[in-house]
Structure formats: C-alpha cells, structure tokens
C-alpha cells in the first residue's frame, strides 16, 4: 500500500471511530439508562414477578419432540 493510501486509510479509520462514538453517545442521550426506566421496578423484584406471573404456563405442545 502506498504512503498516500495508508494515510487516507488512517484518516478514514479515525473518522469512522469518531462517528461511531457519536452514534453511541446519541443513542445513550436520546434514551435514558435502563435504571431510570419504570420497567426495572418490577423486573428486579423477584417476589413481585412471582405474584404477577403466577400460573403462567409454557405454550409448548406436550407432543413436541426435540430438534437438531
């Protein structure tokens, strides 16, 4: 690879890294962390989940055999 091409590749990599950083930062700022979500109130509380999901049954057929 020529010196010019290598320099272009280096600049391209750096730009790519910077852009991907912006994308991640954008995603994180547009949406707050999971910790701030109301969802975790229930989904960290096993007792509440037991109460809420009591009696839930699997939808798998008793006639289903294994695969693969």
């Amino acid at each position: 690879m020529s010196r010019t091409l290598r320099a272009i590749a280096t600049i391209g990599t750096a730009l790519g890294a910077a852009l991907s950083g912006l994308v991640v930062a954008g995603a994180a700022s547009a949406a707050t962390a999971a910790e701030a979500s109301g969802c975790v109130t229930c989904h960290l509380d096993e007792a509440m989940l037991v109460k809420s999901l009591g009696g839930a049954t699997a939808k798998k057929s008793a006639m289903q055999s294994g695969a693969g």
């Binding site: 989904h43 057929s61 055999s65």
Partner: protein
C-alpha cells in the same frame, strides 16, 4: 432442558444495569410504556423479541455491520428450508407447503437475542444472566438448547462417548463455529447449509494432514470425509409428524429414532471443501405425507432431494471402531448405505447416495488384527427378542417391564409384570438425608417378593431405553438373584422383531425372595476414597461430559464437578439409543483404548447411582471380574467431601 420458572425468565440482574446495554432505556429496544406500573398498560406495544421482529432497529443502530449479514444468516432466516422443500413439493400447492414450513420448520429460527442474551424461543426463552449480554454464546443454555437432540447429545456424551473436542480440549460450540460463520449471510439460492462458504471445517484447525505422521491420512485425505473415520454412531430420524394440539399449539414429532453409522456416496462434491467420494449420511425425517395436516399430495416430487443426507456428527474420537483396523470398514457391506436400507418411497431420492456393491472398498489382504478377547463375556446376561419369544412361559423365565405404569398399560410383552425401579422404593428419595441410595436388603427383598419374584427365577427385564431396566438388573444382582438377563433393544426391539404386545395386566402371587445380599457389589464414599489412586483400580464416572466440565450439576448436588482421579466414560458409550447394544468385541476394544480392561477393579459412579448401576451391569456382562457401584454417587459425595 427444563424450562425456566416464569419469573426467572424475566428477572433482571443489577449487573445488567452497569453494562453498555444497561445504559439504554428498556423501551428503546422493547417499546412498551415505562411510565406505567400496571402490567397491562406497561406492556402495551411491548416487543419481547425485538431482534427477531426488527433486528435493524433493535441491534443495527450500534451493530450495523453485523446485523447487515446476520439477519440473513442460517440461524436468522433458515433460508435453505424453502429451497429443499420446493425441490420436493407439488408446485401447485406451494402455499400449503410454505404454511407448514413457516409453522413448524421455522420454529427453530432465532436471532441476536437468542444467542447473546436469552434462551432461544424454541427453548422457551428466559434470560440466562439477568439480561447481561454475552459476546460468546452459552453452549448449554443457548446452542444446545435448540441443537440438543442430535448435536448436544452427541457432543456431551448423552449418546456415545461424547466428542474429544469437549472432553479433552474443553472446547465449546463457538470454538469451531465463530461469529464469522454464525453471522454470515446465507442467500436463498443456497441449496443447503453445507454450501455456506464460511461453514466450519476440520481442516481450519487440522492443517496439512497429508504431511503428518499418520499414514491413513495420506491414504484417505480428499477421498473420505473426516467424519467417516472419526465419528461414532449417531441418531437418524424417521417420520416427522407435524400437527396442532387441540388448543392449536403447533408441534413436530419424530416417530422413530435409530442410532447407526452409514457411509454413502457424496452426490454433491461441489460443496466447499467437500470433494471427497465417501461421506457419512444421516436419515432425515421427511416422508411424502409429512405435511398432510395441511393438505394431501404436497410432495409429488419427493425424489428430488435425498433423505440420506451428508452428516457431520459432533461425536469425534481419534480412534473409532470402524477405523480400528482396515477391514472393519473395507469390505464391510453393512457399513455402506445399500438399497435394502431404503424405504420404498425414498429409492429414487437416494439413487446417487447408495453405495453399490462394486463401490464398497475391497478388503485389505495384509492388515493388523485387533485380538479382542471376548471369551469372558457372560453371554447369558443379555437375551434378544427372538430368544425371549421362544422361551416365554417356559421353565423359570419371568419377564419384568421396568417402564412406568402408563407405558406398561399402553402395551407390554405378554406375561410381563410391571415393576418400575424408580418408584418401587428400592432407593431413598431425593429429599432424604442420603438421597438416592439403596435401602436395606430386607426392604428390597420384600419389594421383589411382593412382585412375585424368586431369587432363582430367570428374570428377564426390559424397558424402552435400557436405563431403568439395567438399573433394576443391578439391584437384582445385589439382592441375590442368581439368573438375570437384559432384553437387548427393549420394547422397540420386540416390535422390530415383529412380535405383538398385550394390554392384559399380568401379576404373580407374592413369594419369598430369599436371595443372599452381595455387599461386594456396592461401595460407599469412604471406601471409594481409599481406592482412589490405587494401581489397577478405575473409578468410572458414567455422567455426561457437561457434568464433568462443571457446566451443569444435578439439582440435589451441592456443587458441580467430579470425583478427583475418576475417569469419565459417559454411559452412552456402553448403551445405545433404544436400549440396543454394540457387539462385545467393539465395547471391549473401546474400553481397552481407555485403559479399562477386565482384569481391573472398576468402581462406577454418576449423579444418583442409576447410570453407575447400568455401567456396573454392562461391565459384568462384558466379563469384568470385579465391578462395584458407588451407590452414594456425586450427589452425596459433593455434600460431604
């Protein structure tokens, strides 16, 4: 694998909140209403599987390059299924075929989440580390949760000896099947999965074998698929039955599974890296009426695709019986797929796979002999269906059905009495202080006597898989029965021999079982500890490899692991599917390759004493002189040592 409890499936761990993915709000991937604490409104618009519904949005914002191909990967799209089905289908009825495909075949489809955060949908889902994402898929909770019946069972030794890559190299699935393969796009034009260029191949690691020191590599390389020499027997499936339950839940079900090994001709040498002439072939469960639930005559071109297909069993061993000496393979017609192996409807489909007599390699004139001594095999400890049919009701022959009562009631060998060793009280319960150990001899003799058995009867025991029947035979030997036999192949062998079942309950009058207990057959953990490390003693752990690796544990064991100094040989190495047995010569040779010879004292162990009892009986059948069962097994050992 048992499904997770409903709450465990969706319980987050606090660790997740500190991860990169935990920095995102839940609703950014799953939707729903995080402001509500009411279950129904919180889940309005909620998507439990966003990487399946919309992988570009759920994962592609950050992992664009991966998602671009992974969404079309074999796991993501099952893209080769329509192609294979179309080659068999009645083109005027493709709509019905495709409906069946989408309902049943596509049940195994998965996406990013099923490999990186939770159990796949086919394995009934559920977080495996509280929603913490993992780069490397979990072999137990993810890969073999779907690829379990064949791949998982064979890799971890629930069928056969297991795979050397798991047992000795402790390799997991990703070690051979990395992201490059898993994320590779599989176009719809691909005729089958073996045509995927990124597919794992043995030669990716085992390079330049033609220059190595193994003479047979130089002879066979390029002509014979690696697995032909290095695989053990594997399962073949027959008669996939699809339908829906009374409540509309879809299912598929194999009607028959058969453990064999067959070599076929490679009809498709154009697949990448597959230019060899001979390959292993596995029977797939297709048949012309497979989708009849959706309509008649859907596969009018059934001969368009073979039903014996290229196989890559995940049960590799360096040394195998078919390659133990040249003429175990050369000239062994039974090892090669023949027309007689085909069902009537599949003759056309497999015309290019069958090996004609002229293409079976000729015997080699000068070759080594194996010199396996079978003279000490106790042949009377195993009988076949024909012998039993001829001897039913004669002399002191008594037949015992060791399956559960429901299976017995559906149909059993005429005259057999029901005696399920798992529920008859021979062992303590799982909640006992010392779980699963044999109760005292008087109690065992009482149970046997009330069932109508006498110590000098010729007691023949059968079941479906061999597991419980042989465990009962071990109890009988310990209790002092003098003449016991295992019905090889169990109830399926009975059917295969053409004999009928009865639904009439048989019972014998109670008698005194006056056998003399054989304490030399059982050792406790204290005795076992003293035997460890002694020359001429082998402690044989008959559990699956994932137990030995510590990847799983019995629910009653206090920890995962294995007894130090023990040798792992999964029970599947001794006992085939459906309770069939390999020849004594093959079994003795296989044991010898591991240094387990009849002159040694062998102590068998497992989790609960059941598989250990099976191994005990089978080793005694093979002529071993001093075999003992570690009845307390790992469950008790782990609690006390």
């Amino acid at each position: 694998m048992a499904p997770l409890e409903p709450q465990a499936k969706v319980l987050l761990s606090k660790d997740f909140l500190a991860t990169t993915h935990g920095a995102l709000a839940c609703e950014s991937c799953h939707g729903g209403n995080p402001a509500s604490l009411d279950k129904a409104t919180a889940h309005a618009g909620f998507d439990p599987v966003p990487s399946i519904s919309n992988p570009r949005k759920a994962c592609g914002d950050c992992h664009a390059e991966i998602v671009a191909t992974a969404k079309d990967s074999l796991h993501g799209s099952l893209s080769t299924f329509p192609k294979v089905l179309a080659n068999r289908a009645n083109k005027d009825r493709w709509g019905q075929v495709d409906e069946a495909r989408a309902t049943h075949c596509a049940a195994c489809h998965t996406s990013c989440g099923g490999c990186h955060v939770s159990r796949p949908r086919f394995a009934q889902k559920g977080f495996i580390q509280g929603h913490v994402f993992q780069k490397r898929s979990d072999p137990i909770n993810q890969c073999t949760a779907c690829h379990g019946s064949r791949v998982g069972s064979e890799f971890y030794g629930e069928r056969g000896q297991g795979d050397v890559h798991a047992a000795k190299a402790t390799m997991d699935c990703v070690a051979c099947h990395p992201a490059k393969e898993m994320h590779a796009a599989a176009p719809r034009s691909l005729p089958g999965r073996y045509q995927l260029g990124e597919l794992a191949r043995c030669t990716h690691c085992h390079k330049e074998l033609e220059y190595g020191s193994v003479r047979d590599h130089a002879i066979h390389l390029g002509r014979v698929q690696c697995q032909v020499c290095h695989s053990q027997t594997y399962v073949n499936c027959y008669g996939c039955h699809v339908g829906k339950d009374a409540d509309g839940t879809a299912f598929f079900q194999n009607r028959r599974e058969l453990e064999t090994l067959k070599i076929g001709l490679n009809h498709d040498a154009k697949a990448p890296g597959a230019g060899y002439r001979y390959m292993l072939v596995r029977h797939v469960p297709s048949y012309p009426e497979m989708f009849d639930f959706y309509g008649k005559d859907l596969f009018t071109s059934f001969g368009g695709v073979p039903t014996w297909k290229r196989a890559s069993p995940h049960n590799i061993q360096r040394r195998t019986w078919q390659a133990a000496t040249c003429n175990n393979c050369h000239g062994n017609r039974a090892l090669f797929l023949a027309s007689a192996d085909l069902l009537d409807f599949e003759k056309q489909a497999n015309r290019n796979v069958v090996v004609p007599d002229g293409k079976v390699p000729k015997p080699v004139k000068k070759t080594q002999t194996l010199a396996v001594d079978t003279s000490r095999v106790r042949t009377g400890m195993v009988v076949d269906a024909r012998w039993l049919h001829e001897n039913l009701g004669k002399g002191k022959v008594v037949v015992v059905d060791a399956r559960d009562r429901a299976a017995y009631d559906k149909g059993h060998i005429d005259g057999a009495i029901p005696l399920d060793p798992l529920t008859s009280g021979f062992r303590t319960g799982g909640d006992a202080e010392r779980p699963f150990v044999l109760v005292d001899h008087a109690e065992v003799a009482g149970i046997l006597g009330r069932a109508g058995l006498a110590a000098d009867d010729h007691i023949v025991v059968y079941d479906r898989s061999g597991l419980t029947a042989i465990a009962l035979l071990a109890v009988l030997e310990w209790a002092g029965a003098t003449h016991v036999s295992y019905l090889e192949g169990g109830i399926e062998g009975w059917h295969a021999a053409g004999f009928r079942e009865s639904t009439v309950l048989s019972s014998l009058g109670a008698r005194a079982f006056t056998g003399t207990v054989q304490p030399r057959y059982v050792v406790d953990s204290g005795t076992l500890a003293k035997l460890l490390g002694k020359p001429n003693v082998v402690v044989l752990d008959a559990r699956a490899i994932h137990r030995i690796l510590g990847e799983t544990r019995h629910e009653k064991a206090s920890r995962a692991g294995a007894i130090p100094g023990s040798m792992n040989l999964p029970l599947g190495a001794l006992l085939m599917d459906n309770g069939a047995l390999k020849s004594p010569a093959e079994l003795l040779w296989m044991l010898r390759t591991r240094g387990i010879t009849p002159d040694k004292t062998v102590v068998t162990t497992c989790d609960t004493g059941l598989a250990a009892a099976d191994a005990f009986f089978l080793l005694r059948y093979l002529g071993f002189q001093d075999v003992r069962v570690h009845d307390e097994a790992w469950v008790n050992w782990s609690r006390t040592r």
